[in-house]
């Protein structure tokens, strides 16, 4: 098992689309981001955040069992320092306000590039690593 990089951001991915989870994991793992877990619904996301207290969560909104909007306040309650980046297919105009009011830190609409997601996580949590 690989030793975790102490400088890496610890990120949880919560999305019911397995393809999106896989692609995010593949990309972020190459960007000095340590994906500490994946959840396919809001309830599992809350459980994993409580257990691992990641630096950030990438959170989909439309999910089974518990949706992202329900999960946001529970995540903040479980781990107030964890940043929440909502990544949703819904138009920002329609959903961003509700998500941010509930405690999300940023709202990204699906279709945004992987590079932008990675940069957003670094901007939100700490300074980007120096590229050597």
């Amino acid at each position: 098992m690989a030793t975790p990089d102490p400088d890496a951001l610890r990120v949880l991915i919560a999305d019911d689309a397995a393809d999106i989870r896989l692609l995010l994991r593949m990309y972020l793992s190459g960007s000095k981001l340590d994906v500490i877990g994946e959840a396919a619904n809001g309830k599992d996301a809350v459980t994993l955040v409580t257990a691992h207290r990641p630096d950030a969560v990438i959170l989909d909104l439309s999910m089974p069992v518990m949706d992202g909007l329900e999960a946001i306040p529970l995540i903040k309650e479980a781990s107030p320092e964890t940043k929440i980046v909502v990544l949703s297919g819904f138009e920002a105009e329609r959903m961003a306000e509700a998500a941010l009011e509930l405690g999300a830190d940023r709202y990204l609409q699906k279709g945004v590039s992987l590079g932008e997601i990675s940069q957003m996580l670094w901007d939100l949590c700490r300074v980007a690593p120096t590229i050597e």
Binding site: A17, D19, I20, L23, L24, M26, Y27, S62, G89, F90, K110, G111, S113, L114, G115
Partner: protein, 86 residues
């Protein structure tokens, strides 16, 4: 319209909106991510699945409204080019 029928119609529209989000938007977003990572075969597969799902949703919608297809029914008022350039 009777209020209950109005609510049922709104519920159905909401259901289709969520189906479009879950299947089409998610599928295309995932395909775009795959292309960004140069995972071309994966992107192609995702686009094929998304296209199939889009066709199923359109078929469901047309069945629901009971569209009666006759000569002339398919004339569009304005051409929407593939790629979104009208």
């Amino acid at each position: 319209m009777h209020p209950e029928r109005g609510n049922a119609a709104r519920d159905r529209l909401e259901e289709y909106a969520f189906a479009l989000n879950d299947s089409i938007v998610q599928g295309l977003a995932a395909a775009k991510m795959a292309l960004e990572m140069e995972e071309v075969a994966r992107a192609r597969s995702m686009i094929n699945q998304t296209l199939q799902r889009a066709q199923e949703i359109i078929a469901d919608l047309m069945n629901e409204v009971g569209t009666d297809i006759r000569p002339g029914s398919l004339v569009r008022t304005e051409r929407e080019d593939a790629g979104g350039n009208a």
